[in-house]
Each structure stands twice: as structure tokens, then as C-alpha cells.
Amino acid sequence: MRVEISYKFIVGFLIVIAAVVVVSLTVPYWPVPSWLRQPLTIGCALLVGLVVGALFSRAFAKNIRALTEAGDRLGQGDLSQDVQVSNLFCDETDDIALAMNRVQASLRELVGEIRGFASQVTEASMSLSVTAQEMTASSHEVAGTVDLISKGAETQAEMVEASNQSFREMAVAINQVALSAQKVAEAAEATVATAQRGTDLAKGSTDTIRQVLTEVEGSGEQMVSFVARVQQIGQIVEVINGVAHKTNLLALNATIEAARAGEYGRGFTIVAEEIRKLADSTTDSSGEITRLVDGIQEEGTQVQSRMAQIIQEMEAGHAAVDRTNQVFAEITGTAEDTRGKAQVISDLTQHQIEGAEQISRAIDEIDKVVSDNAAATEQVSAATQQQCASMEEMTLSAKEMATMAEELLMLVKKFKLEREAQD
């Protein structure tokens, strides 16, 4: 039940007045002398007034004191206790206490939040500081790495240049290979043509040799037949020789007989001499023929052996020409094979030249990219150094922020929020 202070004062006065009235009315019935009645009444009135006044003022002062203490605590930043007033009936002090408690609650909430935020800010700034330090270190590492990359890019550029040089030389070599392959192909073609001519010639030689061989063999047979005939002539000459020999003997004996006949045999002696001369002449001629026949036979034998030799040689020549033919065929095959391979090499080198041009373009692009990379690396290096500087500044700022957050926390810690904190 709410009774305002003014009404409380009025009720108090009324209570005092009522007490005085009651006392004054009841006194005559008291077993006390009359003279005492008045002073007793006054005394009672005073007593009641004092008691009631004291009660009122004490209650009132107690509440005021509590409010004052609460204000003091609030002023000191102690937000841990609520203001408590004890009234039998609510009045304005309760309102003040309530309002103060609301203020205190708001403050407590605010300070709590500030403290929380400050703590968070401290922690965040600490971790930020740590992170910034780490990032600075990382930036330094990045800067070092970027330097290495920069040097690497230079090396890369040199290597690319060297590669390009080597590649140009290789392209020249490939061109030479292509030219050589072309020449080889041409030479192989010429070889094929020559081998073909050789094969034709060898075939012609084979035919000629075969023809000559046939003719020589025919001549050989003729020669054999000729020698046989000459031998027959020899045999006939032998017979003639024998006849001449006998004739000679007969002439000798006829001469002897004619001599024995003396004068009568003289003519016969001349005839016998003539016969002997004829026989001698025959013998000479037949000897001549025999010599001729012998010579012919000897020459025939020589011719035969020579022909056999020629036939052998021609057969050897035939075999050699056959072998030559085979060799020409092999040469043709090899040369055609070589020509095909040289053509393949030529095609391949053509592809290689195209590929080399592509690679050359690629190397040029790589060169550009490497140059761009070098430039970009320098930019990155510069940026990294700036970043390093920024990160150092950021580290400093983070440290400053941490300090400020700590100071804020110190400030906020002046407020006591919990009863335990007070203890």
C-alpha cells in the first residue's frame, strides 16, 4: 500500500493528537490524584509525540541514509549493491531507490559491456599485434623470397637466353641435317639410277658372255673336231711316211741290186736313185706335214686348253657378272632404302624445323614472360617492402591499441559489478 510522505506526516500528527485526546479523556478514570491528571496528560501527550516522532524520523532518516550511501557508492563506482529501503508503506524513497537501482543496473550493464569489449579489444589487439608481428616476419621472409625469386628470374632470363642461343644453333644444325638428308636422298637416287644402269649393263654383259660362251663352246667343239681331223691327217701321213720309208729301203736295195747287176743295172741304178730321191722328198714332205700336224695338234691342244681356260674364265666372268648383278640389285635395294630413310629424315627434319619455329616462338614468349616476371617481381619486391613497413606500423598501432584497451579496461575496472568483487 502506498502512502506518500506527506500523508505519513499527517497520519503521525493525527496519531499524536488522537493519543492526547484519548489520554485526556481517559485520565479522570485513572486512579490518580486529580492534580496529577493534567501533568500526566501533558506527559502522555509529549511521550506519544516523542515516540511517534522518533519512529517517523528514524524510519525516514534510515531511508535517506540508505539512499545517500547508495549515491556515494555509485559515485565511487560500486555498482555491486542494489539500494534497499524498508518501508511499511511505500513512498517516494522507494521510487528514488527504484530509480537509482535502474540507473545502477543500466550502468552495470554498460560497464559490463564496456569491460567485455575492452577485454575483447585487448585480446584482439594482442593477437593483432602478434599476427602483425608474424605478418611482418612473413613479409620479411616474403621479401627475402622475392629477392631470391628476382635473382632466380635473372638466372631464368639468362638461361632462357642461353636456351634460345642453343636452340638457334640446334635449328641451324637441323637445317644442315635436312640439307644433308636431301643430299643423301639425291645421292641415293643417283645411286639407284647408276645401279640400274649397272644392272642393265650387267644384264647386257651376261647376255654377251652367254652368247660368246656358246660361240666359244661351239668353236671348242669345232676345234676338237678339227684336231681329230688333223690327227687323222697325221695318221695318213704316218702311212705315207711308212710308204716312203719302205720306198727308201726298196730304193737302197734296188741300188744295191743294180750295182750287183753291173753294167746292165746302171740305168736301174739311176731309176732307183730317182725313186730314193722321191722317197726322201716324200719323207721330207711327210716329215714337214708331221711337224705341221704336230704343231697344229700342239697349237690345237693349246687352243683347247686356252678355250677351256677362256670358258672357265668366262664362266667365272659370268658368275662375277651375276654376282655384280646381285650386288647391283642389293645396291639398288639399299639405295632405295637409303632414299626412303633420307626422305623420312627430311620429313622429320621438316617437322623438326616447324617444331623448332614453334619452340622458338614459345621461347620468345617465355623470354617475354620472364621479363614480365622480373618486372613484376621487382614490383612485388617493392610492394613487399612497403607491406613490411605497413606491417611494422600496424604492429605499432596494434600495440598502441592494446595499450589503450588496457587503459580502458583499467578505467572500467574501477566499477564494481559484483558483490563478490567487493569482497
Binding site: 737302197l252 736295195n253 744295191i256 750287183r260
Partner: protein, 146 residues
Amino acid sequence: MTLTLIFRIGDRAYGLDIDAVQEIMESPPRYPVPKPAPFLEGAINAHGEVLPVIDLPALMDVSGAARDARLVVLAPEFRGLALLVSRVERIVPLDLERSVPDPDSDPYCQALIERDDSPPVRLLDVTTVYTQLEQLFNDNGGTLCP
């Protein structure tokens, strides 16, 4: 001029008057004789008469000489010997007046006769042949007697 049969013993030309020659026989069948002497080359049948064959080169000690297939059969008045010579050549007329001394003193050479167209010819001394044969017969104990 005397008709003379020219033959060779080794490389020397000998001559024999054809009056001393019966005939020239061409390789008649030759029959071996027992215990022959080195110069006795068997015997032949000459028209029914058996004649000894005397190897003149062997008798004259001419080594390495050829032998002709023809035999010179001597006339019966020359005791019918068949002579084996190196070669029977021919019958030529010789001028016996053109005799020259023999520088070799050949015992079988009766006379050395010069010729116009050929080297000189030694006339065979048939007597020396007989003498030699007889001496050899006697040496051999007379076992070889014609």
C-alpha cells in the same frame, strides 16, 4: 766313183762299198741266241739263212748311240753278217781318191774320204770287224762261231 752306203755309228758317218752289202733289211724278226755276247744281238732269218746280228756301236765301244731298225746284211763273201748301226742313211757315190789321213786313228776306219757337200766319211774296215770278232770269239773260248 764308188757307190757307198752311208750309215752312222753314234754321230760318226761311216761308209761301206755296196758291193759288200747284200741288202738292207727292215726290222726282221730277231731271235735270241744262248750265252750272248754284249755285241751279239741275236740272229735273223735272211731268206732262209740264219745270220748273227752284230751290234757295231757296242763292238766299237760307242756308248749312248741310237740303233736303227734297219739292218745292213753283208754279202755272202763277207761271211753274211747282219750289222746293227745307229742309222742307215743313203747310198752315195764317193771318190775314193780323195782319201785323207784320219786324225783320230780309228781302227775301224779304212780310209777317210772327203766329200764336197758333207763332212768326210770313214770307210768301214770290215777286216778289222772280223779280226775283232775273231779275237773276241777266241777270248770267249770259241763259243760264238758263225
